[in-house]
Symmetry: C2
Subunit: 238 residues, 2 copies
Amino acid sequence: MESSHRNLTHQLVHDLGRKITEGIYSVGGRLPSEADLCVQFNISRTATREAVKMLTAKGLISSRPRQGITVADFKHWNLFDADVLNWILLGRPDLYLLRHFLQLRLAIEAEAAYLAAQNASEDDLINIENALIRMKDATTGQDDTHEADIEFHQSVISATNNPFFKQLINFITTALKVNIRFTNRMIAVTEDEYQAHVEIFEFIKNGNSQAAFDAAMVTQRATIALVDAQIVALENKS
Amino acid sequence: MESSHRNLTHQLVHDLGRKITEGIYSVGGRLPSEADLCVQFNISRTATREAVKMLTAKGLISSRPRQGITVADFKHWNLFDADVLNWILLGRPDLYLLRHFLQLRLAIEAEAAYLAAQNASEDDLINIENALIRMKDATTGQDDTHEADIEFHQSVISATNNPFFKQLINFITTALKVNIRFTNRMIAVTEDEYQAHVEIFEFIKNGNSQAAFDAAMVTQRATIALVDAQIVALENKS
DNA sequence: CAATAGTATTTATAATACAATTAAAGAAAT
DNA sequence: ATTTCTTTAATTGTATTATAAATACTATTG
């Protein structure tokens, strides 16, 4: 169990964060007052208030005198905060949300390939190539499939040398992990998929940004199509 | 002066946030200890600690016993947090950062146009059209140029009906405001620009997602080219 | 020299008291 | 009855003090 965190404050942050994102405390609704939280969790008001402040900073709640602690509207949630994202995705597995997730991932990764082709340093290229080698090994079962895949995408985004894109690496990584869980593709990377990644790498290496963009786009739209198909199948069942 | 915030805790958050993003406290370096902050700002340890927790939640700092409060590595900063983003952009105007910003904006807005073409509701289309009307008025000086432009982009992103994209509206808005400040285009929207936006709208309305994507992409790359030109000019001077 | 124990510094937590804010109830006025 | 004002009470905001826990640094010891 990963639930035991650094300290009392962080434990409470995690606990409430999960409950909010799971909908146990629903949007617009109220959390227990500070005093109640102290009793429920048997901790001091100091620790409680610090947890409340942290969740406020992440956009999940707001607290005002006499009104108490209310769950903020979803649009205020900091979806790009690593904690918030994990709470949402790990707690509420949902194909529709996954599709929304992948749509953003597509937007980011295609342009990342474009920018990588323009800006990748020698080291960046080596990193991408190393990930490819791991993928190759994964096709024959000698390395971990997911990790190699994740490493490839991470190294491409990193090669953009754009801080905003780099910040999204965690976001993408989480997306991939959830994606893998949902599509149940625990199987090995196929030769075709490997080749598609090699192609993207070649374009990046040659500085052919538009081709890298297009190639990444094709791969991404294919992934979304997979999820769309699953959604259609699910909707036909019901 | 916008510096007087809701309460002492938030004031300190704002103050330290600005100082960190401006580099007054540099990455890897240390902030004053809790005790020192109490003295410097003449507030209680309670308020100080709460501020520290909020900044920790935003990824700007980390604090550990005996070690004190240290400025976290840039990659941990929550760039998509509205506060952090504002502190960075308003405090440190930088053409290179602006370019990085626009590169991400391009990625998001092009795909947003694509998704809007697929998912826009009747209301969404009305909102976009209203923004266009404002832009038209702006070309003849009857409405505010920036606001109309911002409203257009906001309504397109909103029409994706994708929560992740919608969360980025604030991000884009900030980008546009900074962009306007930097490029000094305080002038009216030109007829050409207006027509480009109308074109995107038409594609969205007709559900022609690929065309909407391409049209948005062209507009965005043109904007980036403008900034690139400014950067080149600047580098030639020095 | 290396491992160990001790020390001091800093954050973490607790407990208590009071202040400030504000929603809701009640009173007064029209 | 409706509005306006006042009061009340619930809840967060701030301050203070005390103690615990964590850990970088120092000293000791074998």
